[in-house]
Symmetry: C2
Subunit: 200 residues, 2 copies
DNA sequence: GTCGTGATGGCACGATGTGTCACATCGGCT
DNA sequence: AGCCGATGTGACACATCGTGCCATCACGAC
């Protein structure tokens, strides 16, 4: 977490501007109806420069978030291989909720755009998969067996996704995400217990 | 399940040919290096007709599977709202394993292609999300509350994905998928129990 | 055999994404 | 201050993607 160089600062600013303008334009006139030239123009750069900052049109909307999330998560997962893997990951997810659960209006608008555009939704899911894989590697680096780490990471992501889904459905009240996360976590045992109790 | 018309038969044959040739070409020379014109040519149709059968280049690879999977799953989920939601879904998933766990070589090749091409992986994840949503709707149609149905669907998909991942990692032995599915299911209680036992 | 419906192919077009070169701008250096 | 290398930016050309449009062809009904 050393201070960014001027170069990095300008690049980050450009990515933020692109993400903001892309989300705005996608929400206003739709994803397909928005051209790269328009996004680039709204962010004060040439179309050619647009592709220097982001990989493609989809990437523009995700350019901002990609940096922060992973770092927040990994920094908040407590070390110590004695605790349960899923418990450790959920601790990190809770910290992520505190960070991500603030500007609910923007997140709701973003979710509306994702809902209407399968290509963007797919991109979002791919990003979530990368988080899951990073969480899995994190556990394995602490000696957790591969299969156990992968399953724990998958479960943690499922809990996060369901809590986030409920949060958006409820309007994105600031601060409510953490409580929903606890709700979903508390519901896990019931699902699994009922599974084991099935037909003796 | 009425017999298909000649038109539907030809269309299905075209989609199968496209999926087969697309997977082959993507595996041979890479996704980016393969043009739509080449896939269309390998499947004996003009580029223009290519886009009549599949939405875009990505879609060519998924054109075949999209039909079967969902039907198999939904047909195998037992009705009866008295059983636990997750148990019902996992029963359907087990039937899916019996159907999908056969030609492991093709599935491994397919997975290699997905691993090397984020765009295709994203498409695959989007398809999995659609399955999850269909499973959720299926439960809700039987009176399961929304939140419970969504979480159960998410958990079922997580179990499926982890079992499938292990199956591919182990080489895709025919018939081994069902056993891995049972393994992962059996590991669920440990993760959740350890979660509850954490700090009193 | 003829006609109509639907599938196909060919053409043109806008949009996406990349290679390449030229210019501007910012930093350190004397 | 003035120079100079490095990096960022713009402009053009280009291949590919995906679609609208119309002409053509195959197949079934009569």
């Amino acid at each position: 977490m050393q201070r960014p160089t001027p170069r990095e600062r300008r690049q980050a600013a450009a990515r933020r501007a692109l993400a903001e303008q892309a989300l705005r334009l996608f929400a206003e006139r739709g994803y397909e109806a928005t051209t790269v030239a328009e996004i680039a123009d709204a962010a004060d750069m040439s179309p050619r420069t647009f592709f220097r900052h982001v990989r493609d049109k989809d990437d523009a909307m995700f350019a901002a978030d990609e940096d922060a999330f992973g770092e927040v998560l990994e920094a908040a997962v407590p070390a110590g291989a004695d605790a349960a893997p899923l418990a450790r990951l959920l601790h990190g997810v809770r910290a992520l909720a505190a960070s991500a659960g603030r500007d609910g209006d923007v997140k709701c608008a973003r979710e509306r755009v994702l809902e209407e555009n399968p290509a963007l939704r797919a991109r979002d899911l791919a990003q979530q998969l990368r988080w899951q894989q990073r969480a899995e590697e994190f556990l394995r680096a602490d000696g957790v067996p591969a299969g156990e780490a992968a399953l724990a990471a998958g479960l943690a992501l499922t809990v996060w996704r369901e809590a986030y889904r409920r949060w958006i459905a409820a309007g994105g009240d600031p601060g409510a995400l953490a409580g929903l996360l606890d709700d979903v976590t508390a519901e896990l045992p019931a699902h699994v217990r009922a599974l084991g109790a099935r037909r003796g």
